[in-house]
């Protein structure tokens, strides 16, 4: 690590360590980033750059403003230009913007700590341990604040380190650090007693506190603070293990992972464009995912998805550790959507907790208004905010979203489930036709097993001949008729099959055939129009019945024997001579005959 000349001596509780101004500055930034992630603000580029290309030293800016009495004082007294002077910059107004953008969250957080609201929140939380730790931390932070107030420059940074170290020691005492989470990045610039554990411990405690405070800080709105605190507590309850262990992931992975994320993004992009893209490769079975390397792009995506869908599955294996680290991957916070994910996570906590406590009167800050509407609108805990829906939905198809029409003229009225079922009513259960209640079912001759198929052989002289088939159909018919009794007529079995033609004269049959089948069919010729006209005395039902039961059946019988490759008994207008044409058309319009509706009509009519 390159140290600039401006070395500082920092006194800690257990000795003196050397630290450069740069290190302090860097750690300040890390702390800031951590705070942002906790309060679900998507990360901003650090360090901020002004319009003239010069970078702003956030740490120095923070210190200078603090020295002048804080943001509000500086604003009121119009001291921004002097702040700019101290930072060797010459644009005061931009600095104001930078401060409000980058540092107001930290400001608000520190203020809340100072106002001892932390203590209250710690008590609200039933987990005493956290409460105690919080109190301790609050003291530390107060010390830090007083350090800010009393001193400047070197002394400030001392105070900063002081806090870190003490906190770190406490955490160490609590045994909450994890030796495995060694982080080389930290090693680079944290020396002596102020080692990994201390730094990590700081990170962790800061994280815990800020997660408790998270929403409250973000809102920077006094009336919302309780909601935030409550939800923060809830988050700790639910996700402590996960979050605590992954806190390091942020600081360590922040820079390291960024490069690989570009590859990941590109991969996702390609898959989104074409799910069949060879780049996708083949995914192994889910049960094998764990054993796959994290270098696999899809694995990273899955981890990401895992994080997005907030699966709370923990165990102590290293794989899980990796996944959790990835869950907190900085990638998620580098862009806007990352912020949303985190936002949602918090919203869910909100709702869950609120539901459990039955306090529906919560209000969300303005940027969460969508979520708050959802919350007010429905008591269902599974409801999530809109942005999530969009994100979840983004996977499968790039086609535009089709809106399901909603409203009283579309949805059925579904009553609430009361658990009380109405009394049995015997109305409208249908009329039993079979087995017949008259008792003639006794006459059934149980010769054949149920579900018997067609016999291969029969006693007919020419098996399979028209006569043979006709005989067996008649035989079956007689048997069915005997069996069914009244049902035979109720089911209109007397008007089924070629029996129908018994009520037709030979001449009528011939006329029917002639009307249907002038060959070839002229364009726009609909035989039904002519049939209805040709048989004024017959009802339409009779004509349709004849068509399906006799005419079509006979035509089909002919096809079965003579034109095997052209069998079709569904195309009303088709006639043998035109079959190929129509068959082709049917095939072509197969997938669109119904859609869109207008086209369907035209196609149908054109056929």
């Amino acid at each position: 690590m390159v140290l600039d000349g401006d070395r500082l001596l920092v006194e800690t509780g257990s000795g003196v360590v050397q630290a450069s101004y740069y290190e302090i500055q860097h750690r300040f930034q890390v702390l800031l980033c951590k705070l942002w992630t906790e309060i679900c603000v998507h990360s901003l580029p650090v360090p901020p750059m002004l319009g003239n290309g010069s970078n702003v030293d956030l740490y120095k800016l923070f210190m200078v403003v603090k020295g002048k009495g804080g943001y509000d004082v500086v604003c009121e007294s119009k001291l921004w230009s002097s702040v700019a002077e101290e930072l060797d910059l010459n644009v005061g107004t931009s600095l104001k913007l930078v401060y409000s953008k980058y540092l107001s969250a930290l400001d608000g957080w520190l203020k809340k700590v100072a106002d001892s609201k932390v203590a209250e929140c710690g008590l609200v939380d039933d987990r005493d341990k956290f409460g105690k730790r919080l109190m301790e931390l609050q003291d530390e932070v107060k010390g830090l604040l007083s350090g800010y107030a009393e001193k400047e420059g070197v002394d400030d940074s001392k105070g900063d380190f002081d806090v870190d170290e003490k906190v770190g020691r406490k955490v160490r005492n609590l045994g909450n650090h994890d030796a495995e989470m060694t982080d080389c990045m930290m090693n680079d610039y944290v020396l002596g007693e102020l080692g990994n554990d201390g730094m990590k411990g700081t990170g962790e405690v800061v994280r815990i506190v800020s997660s408790k405070l998270g929403v409250g800080v973000d809102l920077s709105d006094a009336e919302n603070i309780m909601v935030g605190l409550v939800s923060g507590g809830e988050k700790c309850d639910g996700g402590l293990v996960l979050d605590a262990s992954s806190g390091d992931g942020i600081s360590s992975g922040h820079k390291r992972k960024r490069e690989s994320m570009m590859g990941l993004l590109g991969w996702v992009n390609r898959v989104a464009k074409n799910p069949g893209d060879p780049v996708v490769g083949s995914l192994p079975d889910k049960s094998k995912w764990k054993s796959c390397s994290n270098q696999e792009v899809w694995k990273q995506v899955l981890s990401f998805r895992d994080a997005v869908f907030f699966k709370r599955r923990f165990d102590s294996t290293t794989e899980q550790q990796n996944w959790k680290n990835q869950r907190m991957n900085p990638f998620m916070y580098d862009d806007h959507s990352g912020g949303k994910y985190n936002l949602r996570e918090r919203l869910r906590c909100d709702k869950r907790h609120l539901l459990a406590k039955g306090t529906a009167a919560a209000r969300s800050p303005s940027d969460l208004s969508r979520g708050s509407r959802d919350l007010g609108r429905t008591p269902s805990p599974h409801t999530r905010d809109r942005c999530e829906k969009q994100l979840v939905a983004s996977g499968i198809d790039g086609s535009p979203e089709v809106c399901i029409p909603v409203g009283p003229s579309h949805q059925a009225e579904v009553p609430e489930w009361t658990g009380i079922t109405p009394e049995n009513d015997s109305k409208w259960l249908g009329t039993q036709i079979w087995p017949s209640k008259k008792g003639n079912s006794r006459l059934i001759i149980e010769r054949d097993p149920i579900g018997k198929g067609r016999q291969d052989s029969c006693g007919c002289s020419v098996t399979g001949s028209a006569e043979c088939v006709r005989f067996h159909i008649a035989e079956k018919r007689a048997k069915v008729k005997l069996e069914l009794g009244a049902a035979f007529y109720l089911w209109k079995f007397d008007k089924v099959g070629e029996e129908v033609k018994l009520s037709w004269t030979k001449e009528e049959e011939k006329r029917f055939k002639d009307v249907v089948g002038p060959n070839p069919l002229p364009e726009g010729y609909y035989f039904w129009d002519h049939i209805f006209r040709s048989f004024p005395k017959k009802s339409r039902a009779d004509l349709v019945s004849y068509y399906f039961n006799v005419f079509l059946l006979q035509r089909r019988a002919y096809q079965n024997r003579h034109t095997l490759e052209d069998i079709d008994s569904d195309d009303d207008e088709a006639e043998d001579g035109l079959r190929n044409v129509f068959g082709h058309q049917t095939l072509k319009s197969r997938c669109s005959i119904l859609t869109p509706k207008k086209a369907a009509k035209k196609k149908k009519n054109s056929k």
């Binding site: 079975d285 599974h382 003229s409 489930w417 109405p422 067609r454 349709v544 669109s592």
Partner: protein, 429 residues
């Protein structure tokens, strides 16, 4: 495991002669053919057959708007030219023509589904079948896609009187939009639809993004598929999703829409399913041993519709049917092979493995959202239904050490398709 034994089957001889009009692909005559084939296999001896009551307009208005029902009641082919505004308003005339006995037809098929639901409610049967029903496109205030009255919604509303949660499953090739829309806001009905989606395929809805809203959020599941899905992929996906759905949602009763237009060779469909694949879904749902309402739906190649629903009647009756169709009055329709089963289709399967995986995972994620927060009371003790234990995803990977099992988990690129090593037939013990 309790076996289903009481089956109620609904049929009205009048539906067979209903005619939508020349060139209309919907041919109620298929119902007549189905019934005939069912009887020719003597399946009626294993079940009770009922003639449904004709549903009264007031019953239809339990879901539909009263003015729409009234209009359907009033309109005839001879008077329709006087009501062009109303026809347009109610979307009648194109896909949904006005024909003779239109209202009576609606009354019959809707009455069948309502009666079926009532018999299930009164525990008079365990499975009720109404092949005439299943017209899932009909909307509250308009007709759509050959459907006028949504008997499924009416049946489900009836079932909701006795059951806290109703699961609706739809394997029609078209999206079950009418049912989904009707229950979009409620968690008391979960709708699951497997359908062709994309290329402006009717009705255009059914994206996986549609998950329901308000209380109903995540209680609408859509499985959008592309052309040419085959038996293996379909049944695999179906079983994975449905078993998870039943496990998660714990419905008190299941409504299964068995639209036969998802079969290979359908005039309007574009899948490659054989009757075996189609009926495998029915068999799978039956295994849950929950009260089950089975309806028909689409299906525009008459003979295949009759074949399919006959086989599925057999499946529900635990009767394996021989492939040789017995003699009957309609046997000539089933030529030249006169066999019951039809082969799978040969349309190119556009559903890539990764596509199906993506869909499956998305559905699972949405289901997980429900798992975290059941909102309708789940304390209702579910019947002793049976959840097949086959979902590898749900099993603890640490427990599987044996080499054979491990080997079977090696993924092959052809894994979603036919193959000897296909490691997941979803065969249920």
């Amino acid at each position: 495991m309790r076996s289903k034994d009481r089956i109620s089957y609904f049929y009205d001889g009048d539906v067979g002669s209903v005619y939508f009009g020349p060139n209309h692909p919907m041919k109620p005559h298929r119902l007549c053919m189905t019934h005939h084939l069912v009887l020719s296999y003597d399946l009626h001896k294993k079940m009770e057959i009922y003639r449904p009551h004709k549903a009264y307009p007031v019953e239809l208005a339990q879901f539909h708007s009263a003015d729409y029902v009234e209009f359907l009641h009033r309109i005839t082919p001879d008077t329709q030219h006087l009501f062009s505004t109303e026809l347009a308003k109610y979307n009648l005339g194109e896909d949904c023509p006005v024909f003779d006995n239109l209202f009576e037809f609606c009354q019959i098929y809707a009455g069948g589904t309502i009666d079926a639901a009532r018999r299930l409610n009164n525990q008079l049967c365990d499975i009720a079948i109404n092949w005439a029903g299943g017209l899932h496109h009909a909307k509250k205030c308009e007709a759509s896609g050959f459907c006028y009255i949504n008997d499924l919604v009416l049946g489900i509303l009836e079932l909701l009187k006795y059951h806290a949660r109703v699961l609706y499953i739809d394997i029609d090739v078209h999206h079950g939009d009418g049912v989904e829309e009707a229950f979009y806001f409620t968690d008391r009905v979960m709708t699951v639809s497997f359908h062709k989606y994309g290329d402006l395929f009717f009705p255009g809805t059914g994206d996986a993004k549609e998950v329901g809203e308000r209380e109903g959020k995540y209680y609408a599941i859509n499985v959008p598929l592309k052309d040419g899905i085959d038996d293996t992929s379909f049944t695999r996906l179906f079983k994975t999703i449905i078993s998870k759905v039943v496990e998660t949602y714990q419905p008190g009763v299941i409504v299964l829409q068995c639209g036969a237009d998802s079969l290979a060779g359908d005039r309007l469909g574009c899948f490659n399913l054989s009757i075996d694949g189609h009926s495998e879904c029915v068999r799978f749902v039956k295994r849950f041993n929950l009260p089950l309402l089975v309806t028909g739906g689409g299906g525009y190649t008459k003979e295949n519709v009759a074949r399919c629903w006959t086989v599925e009647t057999g499946v529900l009756l635990d009767t394996e049917l021989p492939n040789e169709i017995p003699e009957n009055d309609y046997i000539k329709y089933f030529g030249p092979d006169f066999s019951l089963k039809i082969p799978s289709g040969y349309i190119e399967n556009l559903n890539s493995k990764s596509y199906l995986t993506t869909i499956k995972m998305q559905v699972m994620e949405n289901l997980r959202c429900i798992q975290h927060a059941p909102s309708v009371q789940m304390q209702e003790v579910p019947p002793d239904f049976y959840i097949p234990d086959f979902d590898e995803d749900e099993q603890n990977p640490d427990e599987r050490n044996d080499q054979h099992t491990q080997d079977k988990h090696i993924q092959r690129d052809d894994e979603y398709y036919e193959g000897d090593n296909d490691n997941d037939h979803m065969d249920v013990p």
